[in-house]
């Protein structure tokens, strides 16, 4: 009896392992077709911790969606595109080896993806060394484009833009005392440095704290920030679980969002449906940012893509999916115009990109600096005004040219 039981556990374990590996191989494509018949596109992103797996999954899904649509339309240069997606875990060393694998083993012609700056910074080195075009989809660190590698492009905002828009927002609404709680990632720390610099220049009072992403109790840090201090805006520069827990715990402590202190959430997580289950009423009145809202009309491509994503994956895409989707459109367009899969020709074609994406007409500036090869999408400041409100129903409060409502202040 005991032996039988042990055997059963062993079988379950084996089934688990086989199940996992079967999934791996499907995510990497079939791989049986020869490279002559298909054009191989590499995808990279965090599918396992410490990265944010939801972010990676959305990148993978949206890139696959774009590839399927392009293939259904006849492909590129008469060939089908095929996606080879590798897991970077959002970690530099894993990202590097994932890039190496895509380039040397799978022989992809170009790569897109990544959502964590620390991983992306390691990955661009591999792209440069091997001369493979790489479009960064969702990592915001300035250094990624500031280094001026000709192989590296980006369709996400960079930190300078993100922090500039926050300061514009602060000035527009006249906030005078700011508290910042930020995670210990390149993205979090980078933003705090940029914000500090700009607040100091403008003479806006602020305090800040950097917290570990591993921690789950942010009460001590929140108490510290508000000790004998009542900020009128709390900037929550966090991603993943931390972003939700700061909202939840600040609400429980009665710190924010309140009539005195507004809350701004910087991470993409504000637009995920999980926000209401995880934070409940705490997220009512939270202000957050997104490059996309159906209330702000961008282009004719936006709505069909969103509908197709919902149809395919049974989930509303966040803007990460739009970024992932656009990278594939941009690569397909560049390869088509280059008329070849030679890396130098694709890079040259990318530099001349003038393509309608899901959020606007994409072009890549050539002046060196953080904006080199970086197409900057719009950034919308939104506010949840009802509990369980869908991100798409939230009101746009900033910038004023597309705003649908004033900021609602809780009673």
């Amino acid at each position: 009896m005991k032996k039988v039981f042990g055997f059963m556990v062993l079988m379950f374990t084996l089934v688990g392992i086989v199940g996992c590996s079967a999934e791996d191989s499907s995510s990497e494509g079939t791989g049986s077709e020869s490279s002559e018949e298909v054009i191989k596109i590499g995808g990279i992103g965090p599918l396992t911790p410490p990265g944010s797996p939801e972010l990676g999954e959305e990148l993978q899904q949206s890139m696959q969606l774009a590839i399927d649509e392009i293939n259904a339309d006849g492909g590129v240069l008469g060939k089908d595109l095929e996606l080879y997606f590798e897991d970077s875990s959002g970690a530099p060393e894993k990202g590097q080896s994932a890039m190496e694998k895509l380039i040397t083993k799978e022989n992809v012609v170009a790569i897109a993806g990544e959502g964590h700056s620390s991983a992306a910074l390691a990955e661009i080195e591999v792209a440069k060394r091997n001369n493979v075009p790489f479009i960064v989809a969702e990592a915001w660190s300035d250094a990624i484009t500031e280094k001026g590698y000709e192989q590296v492009f980006r369709v996400a905002p960079n930190n300078t833009m993100f922090s500039k828009r926050i300061v514009e927002f602060v000035e527009e609404f006249g906030y005078e005392n700011i508290s910042i709680i930020a995670e210990d990632s390149d993205w979090g720390i980078g933003n705090v440095d940029l914000l500090k610099q700009q607040f100091e220049e403008k003479g806006i009072k602020f305090n800040s704290t950097i917290v570990s992403r591993e921690t789950k109790d942010y009460v001590p840090q929140l108490l510290e920030l508000t000790e004998n201090n009542e900020p009128d805006l709390l900037l929550n520069i966090m991603t993943g679980v931390g972003a939700y827990l700061v909202v939840k715990q600040a609400h429980e402590l009665g710190i924010s969002p309140t009539a005195e202190t507004a809350m701004f959430m910087g991470g993409a997580d504000a637009a995920y449906p999980e926000i209401w289950e995880t934070t409940g009423e705490a997220s009512k009145y939270v202000i957050w940012q997104t490059p996309y809202s159906p209330k702000a009309k961008f282009t004719d491509l936006t709505e069909p893509m969103v509908e197709a994503f919902k149809e395919e994956f049974d989930r509303n895409p966040s803007y990460v999916a739009l970024h992932g989707y656009d990278t594939v459109l941009i690569l397909a367009d560049a390869i088509e115009r280059a008329g070849s899969t030679d890396p130098d020709e694709i890079i040259a074609a990318l530099e001349e990109t003038k393509l309608m994406g899901t959020r606007g007409e994409v072009t890549f500036p050539l002046e060196k600096g953080p904006d080199y090869h970086n197409w900057l999408p719009d950034l919308l400041f939104m506010q949840y005004t009802e509990i369980d409100q869908a991100p798409d129903d939230a009101e746009i409060v900033f910038p004023s040219n597309v705003a649908t409502s004033d900021i609602v202040i809780p009673e």
Binding site: K2, F5, G6, V9, T13, G16, G19, C20, E23, T48, P49, S52, P53, E54, E57, D184, T209, I210, V211, S212, E214, T215, K216, D217, V219, P220, Q221, L223, E224, E227, N228, G240, V241, Y244, L245, Q249, E252, L253, G254, Y272, E274, E277, T278, G280, E281
Partner: protein, 296 residues
Amino acid sequence: MDFLVPLLAQLTNGLIIGFIYALMALGLTLIFGVLKVINFAHGEFYMLGAYISYIASRMLGLHPIIGIIAAVAVVFIIGMLMEKALLTPIYEDKVERKDEYALLITFGLSIFLMNGALVVFGPYQKSPEPLASGVLDLGVLSVSSGRIYAVVLAIIFMAATLFIINKTWLGTALRALSQDRDASTIMGINAKTLGSIAFGLGAAMAGAAGALLAPVFLVFPIMGVVPAIKSFVIIILGSMGSIKGAIYGSLLLGIVESLGVFFLSPSYRDGYSFLLLIIILLVKPKGLFGGSQWNN
């Protein structure tokens, strides 16, 4: 007063967290005490408890308290079965390096359960129905009712465990086992069955902590990693296998963390526990309750 209120607020929060650490650490020390096995999958039992309470309260629509009870019961059974299936070779002399075997197999189990949760539930954060909403004003600090419930229930669970260990036949047998496995087997104690029960109990305590904290700190596949590390720190500084050590160690950790936050900086909060561990190990290499086992 300007100085005192924030300090008390930090201390209160530290103590609340300490009580919750204690439940988990107690489970870990129980398993080590009886089986002499370091359970690397402890954090994953914490995660399992959280997911079970999530399934019960959100998917099946049961009352959250039933979700917590279900989590304790199911994790207890899973823990017992895992012990029977994976750890039996140690007692049947089938493996040469018993300690390494136990270390590796529980480590493997941990990775398996974490990835299993990722496949089954996906990477997204969930939250079971909370026991209560709203906040409670403690004067210096307003605390969510969820945390208060978690602490009260954690104390009840700990008291029940202490009662079982100190006042029942089962507890006497477990204590005997922890002191001398061979001698107690000779005296007629069924070491195999009791070993499974001890492992199940320890796992169930982690499961209970997970279920209690699920609405407070959210549910996701890697949620158990940090609490497990804290538990290891606690039982090492309180002496491995010591029950008193686990409880006092947890409270000490909660207090030291909040003092560190208040007097030094909140940014290095998770570092203070390791600093404390290093100091205690330097001064008392066997831990706070060094060497002494179950009878304290």
